[in-house]
């Protein structure tokens, strides 16, 4: 069962560094690729939509509610990430707390009440 042992702290930090490195490389190469463009790092979804429209296709249905402006849209995206982050953090917090108390094999529900 070698593979189910948690990774060592060094490996965890190395993986975090690797993820950051990949993003950094993407950012540098991407900035070069987007040089001179109107909006660098625009969304791929929008890029494809533009392509389809250039080919002469029009959307036949409009969003029921559209965010009034880019600022509100990015705020709503932040809200989505924030809500997800809260739930994720709560779940991991409950699990971690239970682990630290050393009663990992009992029903998690009791711990949730205690941590309320």
């Amino acid at each position: 069962m070698r593979e189910t042992r948690p990774l060592s702290k060094g490996v965890v930090w190395a993986l975090l560094a690797l993820a950051a490195l990949v993003v950094a490389i993407a950012l540098v190469l991407g900035a070069r690729a987007a040089a001179g463009e109107e909006e660098p790092f625009g969304g791929t979804d929008a890029a494809v939509t533009e392509q389809i429209e250039e080919d002469g296709h029009e959307p036949w249905f409009e969003p029921i509610i559209a965010p009034a402006g880019g600022e509100i849209e990015s705020g709503l995206f932040a809200l989505q990430a924030g809500l997800g982050g809260i739930v994720l953090g709560y779940a991991f917090g409950v699990l971690r707390e239970r682990r630290l108390r050393g009663d990992g094999d009992v029903d998690g529900a009791g711990d949730m009440d205690r941590d309320g």
Binding site: D45, V48, W60, R96
Partner: protein
């Protein structure tokens, strides 16, 4: 990978909705089954849903000079099998369609097939194929493949709907926008997945054991080794 509201021709939109519906219904049943039969795993189910919620909200820059987002669907597919993600992924897409005007109701079926069905199944397939590999390798590949497969599917759906210059040429063009952009994101998502599962190995070993993610109960050692590591 969102196909914007109203962009798929009505016939395509309807067809993808019909294809997606049974997966989502089956997914809803799978979620109910997990909640009922594995009450201890509920907290992980919430975490898997929340993970997709967070990941699909984060737009990251990429090598092509555009931005795209991870999907986060591989985690739930590994922990709970893919049907669960058919519902959870669709809920995320519905939220984005209704509140963010990102994606759409007419394109919900097509988007759900890409992100909530094909992605999770592709990731899970790779996870099972690599059965003998170390857990971290399996998780990395599953998460990255779930992410990439989603974008390949979206490209395919668009090429089917808009085959300007022939299906293959259109497919290549859409893949050029989506798939290349997605490669570094898939790598990052794979790494994040490994870190999340690694944390769960320490914190949620009993649940992982119940779900069959780590070795069977008779051979696996207890959580003590996790505490020491």
């Amino acid at each position: 990978m969102h196909i914007a509201e109203g962009f798929l021709p009505p016939v395509h939109a309807a067809a993808w909705t019909v294809v997606a519906a049974p997966f989502v219904v089956h997914g809803a049943r799978a979620v109910v089954k997990v909640v009922r039969e594995q009450p201890n795993a509920r907290i992980l189910l919430g975490a898997a849903g929340a993970f997709t919620f967070v990941m699909s909200a984060i737009k990251l820059p990429s090598v092509t000079g555009s931005s795209s987002h991870p999907t986060g669907t591989g985690l739930g597919a590994i922990l709970f099998r893919p049907p669960v993600m058919a519902l959870l992924g669709t809920i995320v897409l519905l939220f984005q369609a209704l509140l963010l005007a990102h994606g759409g109701l007419t394109t919900l079926g097509a988007n759900a097939i890409a992100m909530a069905v094909v992605g999770p199944w592709a990731g899970y397939g790779v996870y099972r194929l690599l059965a003998a590999a170390p857990l971290s390798v399996k998780v990395f590949c599953a998460m990255a493949v779930a992410n990439l497969a989603t974008y390949v599917t979206t490209s395919t759906q668009l090429a089917l709907a808009f085959p300007e210059g022939g299906f293959l040429e259109a497919w290549g063009r859409f893949l050029g926008v989506f798939a290349v952009t997605q490669i570094p994101l898939a790598i990052v998502e794979g790494i994040i997945g490994v870190l999340v599962v690694n944390a769960l190995l320490s914190w949620a070993r009993p649940e992982l054991r119940d779900l069959g993610v780590v070795g069977d109960p008779t051979t696996a050692r207890t959580g003590e080794e996790a505490a020491r590591a």
